[in-house]
Structure formats: C-alpha cells, structure tokens
Symmetry: C2
Subunit: 453 residues, 2 copies
C-alpha cells in the first residue's frame, strides 16, 4: 500500500509514524512544503524570545530519523493539486520549480494553515512578520534582535498575539497590541479577560482595543501603523490575526470544505472522497458539546490525536476521533489563562438555556504560604445541571486544574457530581474542597427531570 | 427539632453549619471534647514548623462565630455514653468532671479519631508526642523549639510521619524515621516510594525501614528508642502510627461498628440506629472501587462532604455520599506524592485481574525550561480496560494533575478514553499529549467484551 502524506508537521508526522508502526510494510511518502519537519509550533514564541535557546529543541524528529524508520520525506515540496480519479498528487519542488505527480492508494492531507494577512495598504513591507512556521519564527527572531529594533506592534490579541507580546517584553522591547474586539483573547468571555488586560497594562503593554488597522506606512526607517483612530510608529510589526487552512490545492476536487476552506472530516477523519483523510490545521474537528463536525480549532493537540486516528483507520481498526470541547491554556506573563467547554458567549450564540457563576477561590489552602487567587467562571445547562464550560485565570494552580474541569465536562458531569468527587487534597496543593469544587458548590441547580433534587 | 453534634472539627462543624443554613429554626448543640473547633488538622505539620506562623490561621471559624449563627457550642465536653432508647447523650465537662445528659431528636456523631500509641515499655515518657489535635500540635511546637532539642525520632512513615520529618528538617533538627514496613507510605506501592525514600536520604533523614520499636527509655535527659535491631538516643519522639476512631462511648449501644471501632454508615451517613448519623474520622466511608461500605479512610475531605450529606438528609433532601476512591496527595520535601484509585497492592489483595504500567514523563513540554520528571504508575482492569488507579511522584505538576486521573477513574474511563480527551495544552504547562495521556497511551488493553477494539 502506498500512502502519500501532504504536510510534515504535527498531524502528518504523527499519522506517518503511527502508520509505519502499525503497518511496517506500507510505503509512506511525506511531502512538506517548507524546510522543517515535526516541530512544536506552540513553542515558537518561546524560541523567539530565547526562553528556549536552540531551535533544534523544538524539533521532535529529524528527516534522517524518519527515513531511518522507513518513511520517505521530501521537504520544500508543495502539493499543488490532487486528481482524485487518477489518485495522483501534483507536486512542485523548491527552488527548482520542477513539478511532477505521485500516485497513492491512500492520501493523508495535513497541509496545515497559513497566516491570514491584513488586506491593507503597505502590507508588503518587510517589517511585517507572521509567526506561522518555524521559518517565520527564525526570521522574526533575527529581526527582533537587530540593535535598532525597540518598538514592536502586535496585531491581534489571540493566543499567539498575547504570547508574542510577552516574548517582546521579555526581550526588553516596547510592545503595542492592537485588537479588533473590545477584549483580548476573544475566544474567552470579556469579564474574565479583564484580569489579562490589567496584567498587560501592568507590564507596560500599550493596548489598543476595538482598533482596526487601516494601513501600514514605511517612513524614516520605521513603520507607521495607522488605525481608525490613531497612528503610531514602530520598528517591526507582527501580524497574528488568525490562520486559514492551506487547502487551495483542492480547489478543483470534490473534497468537501467548509466556508473558511477547512476540509470537512468525520470522526474517522475521512473526507468526502474515499481513501482521502485529513487532519490538523487544514481540517475540521468534531465538537462534542456543539454536536458539530464543522468546528475549526487549529491546535497541536487535535492534530496529534487526529493523525493517529488516520493511521489506525488505514491499518484497519475503527478508532474514532472522539472530538474536542474547546480546551486551551496559555501563559500571559505571570497569569495562566485557561478554558474548557463553552464560554457564556458560546452558550448565548447556541441558544442554550444556561446559567453562569463567577467565583474567586485560591490555588491552595488559604493558610499555606504563597496562596494566590484563582478566578473561575462556569457555565452550566439549567435543565440538566451539567457543566458546560469553565474559564480560569490565576498565577498558580490553573494549568492542570483546568483539565479536571475538562475531564468532568467530557464526561458530562453535573456541578453537583463534581462537588461529590474524591479529589486529592493537601494544604500546599488545594483548599480542602478543591478549587474546582469551591466553584461547583456555588451552582444551585435543580434538575428539571428530577423531583428528588 | 433538637440536634446534638458530638465533635466540633471538620465533619461536625460542616454538618452543623450546613444544617443551620438549611433549617434555621433547628436547635443545634455541639459538644467538643477538646478546646479547639473547626480547625484544619491537615495544616498542623506546617504550623508546627512555623511555615504557617499563627495558630489562628488554621481555624476556619471560632466559637463566637458559630454562636452568632445560632449554633450552641460547648467545648471541653466529652460524650461518655449514648442511650439510644432515651435518645440521650451523657456528657462530661472538663476540668470540673461534672456529668449531665442532653436529649436529641437527631444525633450526629463526629467524634473523630485518636492517635494509636505503641504499647511498649516507656510509652508514658513526656518526651513522646503525637500530632492528633491542635492541642497536641501546640504542645509539640513548644517542645521542638526548646534549645536543647536537636534530634527527633518520628515513628511511622505514613502521611503525618513524612510531613513531620519534613517539618523537623525545616526547623534544622536531625530526624530519624522508623517504619515497620519495608517502604515509606505503605498506602502506596513500594516501587513508587523509592523516589521518596531517596529524597528522604538526600535530606539526611536517618531511615529505619522494617524496624519495630520495642521500648523507650529515658536516660541522661534524652530518650532512647530501642528497636528490634538497634537503639538510638533522641531528644524527642513523635508517634504517628495511625488513628483509632473515638467511639468507645458507644460500647453499650446497638450502633454498629467495624473491627477498628469505626461506625458503619450507609451512603446517607445513617448508622444502624434510626436518627443517629456519623461522619468523619469516627466513621466508615463507601469505597466506590471496592464496592464496600467498610472502608476506613480518615481524611478531612471526606469529613467535610459527609458532614454536609448529614445536614441535607436531616433537612429532608436525599443527598447521598457518593463515595471515595482513595485519592491523596502530600508534599515530601521537593516532591509531590499523590495517588487515586487502587494501587497494585490493593488490586492484588482484591483479586482483580489487573495490569499495570510505569512511565516516566515530564510535567511540561520537554523543551520549555524547568521541565521536571513525573513518575507515573497506573493500574487497570484487564477485562474492561478501565483505569483502576494512578500514582504520581514528581517535583512539579503532580498536585492537581492527580485529580485529572481521579476524575477519570471516578467516571470509570478506560485508558484509551483518557487518551482521547481534549485537555488544555501549552508548553509551560504540559507536553502536547498531557502527562496523564502519555501514561494512558502506554496501556495496550483489548476489551474482552469487544471485537472491534
């Protein structure tokens, strides 16, 4: 069996590696558009700020290591088309520009996503960077370390934007952050993000909320960022306004895609075309809480899991991708910001009858030295009393604790059921009712289907 | 309605407080044998070592605060008997020795547990302490701070023993630790506790494993600890060999107790006698994984939950105590030691067809600075593939992460289902497959009831 994998980062390489383990006799060829393979893209902001010194640390496995296992790898080779009848992929090599075809029995598309760029005047300036690939990060790191770079504007206050702002401040540079919405991290509820806003201000980040960039202008060796209401000059701009699936090469195929171009897959990671699978940032994921196959949440965790599912499926097992629930966490200076499940915003948009509570608790027994506040917001279904979502912000005890909520929500537990659980306790690690239970204890919910409760 | 509560610490006071909120018109009287109310007993080792400076920090609520809410509290008053026919409790006041009776409509027994003492010669020495009550801790703190105290022996390598050894070393004193078994923390598997043993040795604790104390002897202002194989002199001894339920006053009642004296309760925390409830260290708990009502696991977390169940039951709701699964965590110097569910030892004893795996993972992305190893051992049912237990030891990322396992085991998830979950990830907090999933990924289990998997 001949398997072609388009894309050599998280989803593609986990699919290829797992498949080779499961079916050692299969022929696997990976085509990667860029130069780099199998790297931890989530670590790039920390590589840029030199928190992680060497680039090689981000690389899980090298080309040589894959080839040693019997996986053929072609870098600098972009898929430019697929003929689903002929079962052939058209490929284009860099820098030669040479094109050729390769045929498959099974095709795994893991082509990732590219940075969305603002369609404004001046966008072609060399002073504007993105943080999409390891190559981008390498270039950006070099640029940020030039001695004349002092002021940096980050456009977009999502995950990458916030992480980059932290990185920039870590490097001793001045940071502007421009965000279209009236809050940072628009995937979270605004009330919870006030803690982050305050922290950014405490770290002297110039925050421009509800601001839209209208143009860039190179001037006197700087770049001027023009927004609807103001203009300011910086030495370098980082755009981090989101990504778009790299699926243009499927234009003339029957492979079904959703509006943003992401390949629609089922829970076997099958596309609409037989023997073509997709996973990672180029594909949709099943959202358990929204019961939707059309969720687009490009994260490395999903890419790794979905990649394995494809390998299992091709090898004959009926392993499924069990879905996502919107879990995420990030470091924003001293704060940890995390969520799982549905925010209040999402509950509203979905028309769910929800309740929500907000609680300030602590990460450990209040009397044990070093206790820090943890701010928690929960959403729950007012009919079933099941937890729907959790958001947490705090300096300590958030990073793993969010995953207690994730596990509870994954299992469709009610708030009361969470409070009933036997969670491990000692004063240095939690209050006697764990922080998560202090929050669930505040939910007074009477199941409509029960007279006893 | 007149409610008598015997015992004024965790279970008693949470029952009394909750009941007063639910039934403000009820008459509630709490009789507490000691002087102190509603204190966090789990914090006592840290109070003793002065990590927690003031004793008052351990106290959740004072007598005055309870009385303000309308709960009558009598301290220094011990229950010496119960007449279940007359519905009367016999009480004895300290220091007067005066006795009297009080009658109840509902009786809540939360009399706690007392330190088991070694039945050996010399046991009456004033140099031997226990860490059972706040009063004990106060006395011990005073004694440890005497200038001539340099060497301390701790007898018993359980939770309190380990925490006390750490406290003693924190205070700059020399520590001996004597344990009957061939490992510390016998509630955990021996292989996992090798990490703790090593840490104790690194902190210059003189470890005496598989040693039995045979006698104490006061000599030249010191106390000699004689064991089966050796003798050594110290200035002070702390016995921490376990506790026994304070239920002697029920001797002549039909209130059913298990072998160690713990009051047998059902999941409503009802005893075998109508209108008498029990909770906390004097009572049993339902063990979900052992399907047994006869578990004895005296922990503050269970006491608080069970206390509330009693209040709910008395007020007319059918709230149940949903059981325990053996979750615990403790700090042992720089290590966090945690478990939930069944150890290998317990699986063996229960005759379960189990498998087990041991994994060394990290608390965060390996490339992010400061990553530390986390040692994990999992047990699972070889028929259902459900996780049965998890033990973790590491310097970072263990305290809350154990509760991801606890939540998974509570929900009877299989190892595979844990690996499938959407857990929040960012490099400073976890590997891309969370530490718990790195472990569950190692379990290759084929359900015997399924042909597909």
């Amino acid at each position: 069996m001949k398997v072609i994998v388009i894309g050599g980062v998280a989803a593609g390489m986990s699919a290829a590696s797992k498949l080779k383990r499961l079916m050692p006799e299969s022929e696997i060829v990976v085509y990667e558009k860029g130069e780099d393979l199998s790297y931890g893209a989530c670590g790039m902001p920390y590589y840029i700020s030199d928190v992680i010194g060497e680039e090689s640390k981000l690389v899980a496995r090298t080309k040589a290591q894959f080839e040693e296992k019997g996986i053929r790898v072609r870098v600098n080779t972009e898929a430019t088309g697929v003929d689903t009848e002929k079962r052939a992929v058209t490929l284009k090599e860099r820098p030669s520009g040479e094109t050729y075809e390769d045929v498959y029995d099974k095709l795994i598309i893991a082509s990732g996503a590219g940075a969305i760029r603002l369609p404004v005047e001046g966008r072609e300036s060399k002073r504007i960077h993105v943080v999409n690939t390891l190559e981008d990060s390498r270039n950006l790191k070099k640029a940020l370390n030039k001695p004349d770079v002092k002021d940096v504007a980050v456009i977009g206050g999502g995950f990458i934007g916030i992480e980059m702002v932290e990185s920039i401040r870590e490097m001793g540079l001045n940071a502007h952050l421009v965000e279209l919405e009236n809050q940072v991290l628009p995937g979270y509820d605004k009330d919870m993000m006030e803690h982050v806003r305050k922290s950014l201000e405490d770290h002297a980040v110039s925050l421009h909320l509800e601001e839209e960039v209208t143009a860039y202008e190179e001037k006197d060796g700087r770049i001027i960022v023009h927004t609807k209401t103001t203009s300011f000059g910086v030495d370098l701009v980082i755009e981090a306004i989101g990504v778009r699936p790299n699926t243009g090469f499927l234009k003339n195929t029957p492979v079904e895609r959703i509006k943003n171009g992401a390949i629609l897959v089922n829970d076997r990671n099958e596309t609409s075309v037989r023997d073509i699978y997709a996973a990672g940032d180029c594909a949709t994921v099943y959202h358990r809480l929204k019961s939707s196959y059309e969720a687009y949440i490009p994260l490395g965790t999903h890419a790794n899991k979905a990649g394995r599912v494809i390998a299992e499926q091709i090898s004959g097992s009926d392993k499924r991708f069990e879905g996502v629930i919107g879990s995420s966490v990030l470091k924003a200076f001293e704060l940890t910001v995390a969520k799982t499940g549905l925010t209040e915003k999402e509950c509203k948009a979905l028309g769910i009858d929800y309740g929500s509570i907000s609680v300030k608790a602590a990460n450990q027994a209040g009397y044990y030295p070093g206790a820090k506040p943890v701010f928690i917001k929960l959403t729950y279904d007012t009919h079933t009393c099941n937890l729907l979502g959790a958001q947490m912000v705090g300096e300590k005890g958030v990073g793993s604790r969010i995953n207690i909520f994730a596990t509870a929500i994954w299992n469709r537990m009610s708030a009361e059921a969470v409070s009933d659980m036997d969670l491990a306790y000692a004063p240095p690690f939690s209050p006697v009712w764990d922080t998560v239970q202090i929050a669930t204890n505040q939910i007074k919910c009477q199941r409509s289907d029960s007279h006893e409760k």
